[in-house]
Amino acid sequence: MSHQRLPQQPRPAPPQQPRPAPPRRSQPPGTHRPLHLAAHFPGVNSTTVWSDPRSGSQIAFDSFVHLARTAERGLFDFFFLAEGLRLREHKGRIHDLDVVGRPESLAVLNAVAAVTERLGLAATVNSTFNEPYELARRLASLDHLSDGRAAWNVVTSSDAFTGENFRRGGYLDRAERYTRAAEFVATARELWDSWSPDGTPRPFAHHGRHFSIEGEFTLPRSPQGHPVVIQAGDSAEGRDFAASTADVIFTRHGTLAAGQEFYADVKGRLPGYGRTADDLKIMPGVTVVVGDTDAEAQEKATEIRRLQVSPQNALLAAEQVWGTDLSGFDPDGPLPAFDPVVDSDVVQGRVRQGDPRALAEKWRGLARAKNLSLRETAIEATGRQSFIGSAATVAEAMSHFVDSRAADGFILVPHLTPGGLDEFVDQVVPLLQERGAFRTAYTGPTLRDHLGLSHPATRQTPKDAAA
């Protein structure tokens, strides 16, 4: 299960009414652009260092409480949960090297709502193996029960492998999954809009390519009108879809330059959909390592990478590139000399990124240039965007990233559960606040308030305008 791109959704011209300006944040005066922060609960990925003695339960509710409360203490915008719908497999067997297993997102977030007051609560929920009526209802329930803190990260599912757990079953080809996702989001919004502003249900009917449904929604408008919609994706279609529809984009852009290119491109698409640059926040997922000094942080980061990429995990990463069994290989030896298998089913439940031949060539180039072993190459090749340094260095770098319009903020992916945010919140957040780059108090009750997004509830819907 991974975050998939969503396509361009052909969308009618947006309503003519201008949107009200988003509520002003009362930032301390400063020269920095305001920065948004979110926290990812560490889980089923190769970032989480479960072997660390400080690593606690990935499933017990206490772990969620600790991390969510830390994020709220740090005045984060939201708390983000990924999703899995089938355990990943490698070489036809259940993958056993990374964290396996997690609770269901919306049930956890409803419980987290009880132990937090302002923190946004974002659930990744698949649009391929859910139905709009039921999911719109569960998301609206979270928004009601959290007083307006719900968000939905819309993803699609990859294939028949995941489908084996569902009534829908089988394979939905790439294009169809995307059109289904687009129609799913549009239908959910029709449901959320279906009660009149005076609180009476209005019958709705949606007859489209993927869904043909009608009746009455069971819930009045939720506090945010619509839960915040998050999407991930880099393709041209994904960028257009996000520009037309999403409130937040979760990206993976690594370098400052790549981030700036992406940022300019996506924000440039917004006017075409009658939206402004403030209507969509761009938030890359990043890791952060804080030390007393920059040098100490670098040392820590190196050690963390070694823990993340165990000898077994290094072989597995290489098997994913080469598409074949490498169990005879020495992780501390050289890379395979042969070419990768292109059409491989070694990996299940996780997308193989890019062209394997190009990827293998990249790995070989890295190994040659720096004289690296297989494991060292995997460590170099599989990292993600990181901010590493003293608290001051990290605060400066993050703020610079935002000031340079490479992002509006970050989704932090800690490597430890549940204490992985403690250092950041205790050491980096105060420095960001001193710079005037980050809020010193929540200025509104809802997630839309934190993100500076307008409330759809305050907007006249086309239906009302026509009435």
Binding site: L97, G101, E104, A107, A111, A114, N130, Y133, T218
Partner: protein, 408 residues
């Protein structure tokens, strides 16, 4: 703790055979053909705290509904849940339907879990238009966030209106919908067992987080769905959340006797309740279940007055009156305590599921009046001796199907 609670065998798996001797019966009411010995009403000794699933003496079980039609705020439910919690009730129920105004019930109870300590949380979750894989994951998660207090009251959707909200299938008959619900429960149990309790090993030398030999495919093939598994959620704290089911009409009773841990019956007299209990236990035995593993609760609407006066005339001499919406008790909390003590002492039922006519008022009177008096008389517990819903009900934690199967 290994035990002998049977799991209905899935079509393609061998029947579960316990590797341990059967746990001692938790209730003297095994066949219910004869009334159980009367418990000492006047005894003031509370049950001693015991290990999680002890061979307990028979206990009175009390549960309450916290339904508030159309409510959308936490504040509408929170005081009710706290009453149920502080009143030491076994569990609370919250109904749900895709066709009626209101919030998703499982979401509400997950929201209330951290704000309550001991009371069991039993949402209605329907099975007709949902994905069984999602349903079992949500219930397992409710069990995780409540630290072992989750139950599940399965429901079905049989109307065209509900079918049109999904547009996936035409409306089905109650018989078909409940047969499918039974398959959803069977699949859910297989998925809850798809992780052995000790599957997570965090073995640093081998780099393995889990022992994949302790993860199992469910491979359940029902008539309308199939599920490969394993679940994405590790086995919940209770093993399986407690299944609560209505056992009134023949179709629902057939589902309940096969699948439920707690059966709710609507009856207006003690004799009828006793006959009903005997009947469902006999049917459960015929379905291959151990009757002592069932709890039968009488389900009635209660409308409580402020004083202690006797039940109004026309209410069957203090008993509930049959109505179109099931048995309805109107009267004082003290008389309700008499009724509960009387039916329970006669062995007619294991307890009561009470549906307050006016939730805010009646739940308060139920807890501070009726339950308090029953505690004073030693009929009802003075504290929760365990922490999970199964412990409240004296139900064993189910052994994992894969352990019992491999031990044979």
């Amino acid at each position: 703790m290994p035990d002998s609670t049977p799991t209905p065998p899935a079509p393609q798996t061998p029947p579960a055979v316990s590797s341990t001797p059967p746990a001692p019966s938790t209730s003297p009411v095994v066949s219910s053909t004869a009334p159980a010995p009367t418990p000492p009403i006047a005894s003031s000794t509370p049950p001693a705290p015991t290990s999680p699933v002890p061979p307990t003496p028979r206990r009175l079980h009390l549960a309450a509904a916290i339904d508030v039609p159309g409510a959308t705020r936490v504040a509408d439910f929170l005081p009710l849940a706290r009453f149920a919690d502080e009143g030491l009730l076994d569990f609370l129920t919250l109904g749900d339907s895709f066709a009626a105004p209101g919030l998703d019930a499982l979401s509400v109870l997950a929201r209330l879990a951290p704000e309550t300590r001991r009371v069991g949380l039993v949402p209605t979750v329907t099975t007709t238009h949902t994905e069984p894989f999602h349903v079992q994951a949500q219930l397992a998660t409710l069990d995780w966030v409540s630290r072992g207090r989750a139950g599940w009251r399965p429901g079905v959707s049989t109307s065209e209106n509900e079918a049109r909200l999904f547009g996936r299938r035409a409306a089905v008959t109650a018989r078909e919908a409940w047969r499918e619900a039974g398959e959803v429960v069977e699949a859910a149990r297989l998925l809850w067992d798809s992780w052995e309790d000790d599957a997570e090993i965090r073995d640093i030398p081998s780099g393995r987080f889990v022992d994949r030999d302790k993860l199992h495919y469910a491979d359940y093939a029902g008539t309308t769905f199939s599920v490969r598994g394993p679940s994405i959620v590790p086995r919940p704290p209770q093993g399986h959340p407690v299944i609560v089911a209505d056992a009134d009409d023949p179709v629902r009773r057939d589902f309940a006797v096969r699948h439920a841990d707690v059966l709710l019956v609507e009856t207006s007299s003690r004799e009828q309740a006793a006959a009903f209990s005997a009947e469902v236990r006999a049917e459960a035995a015929r379905a291959g279940r151990e009757p002592a593993d069932l709890r039968v609760l009488a389900s009635l609407t209660v409308e409580l007055s402020g004083g202690e006066q006797a039940a109004e005339p026309g209410h069957g001499g203090g008993g509930p009156r049959p109505t179109a919406h099931g048995p309805h008790y109107r009267g004082g909390p003290v008389d309700l305590a008499e009724l509960i003590g009387d039916w329970y002492a006669a062995g007619a039922v294991d307890g009561f599921h009470l549906r307050p006519a006016e939730p805010g008022r009646d739940l308060e009177r139920l807890v501070n009046g009726t339950a308090a008096l029953l505690q004073h008389r030693g009929v009802f517990r003075a504290f929760h001796p365990g922490s999970t819903l199964r412990e409240h009900l004296g139900l064993a934690r189910p052994a994992n199907l894969h352990l019992t199967a491999s031990a044979t």
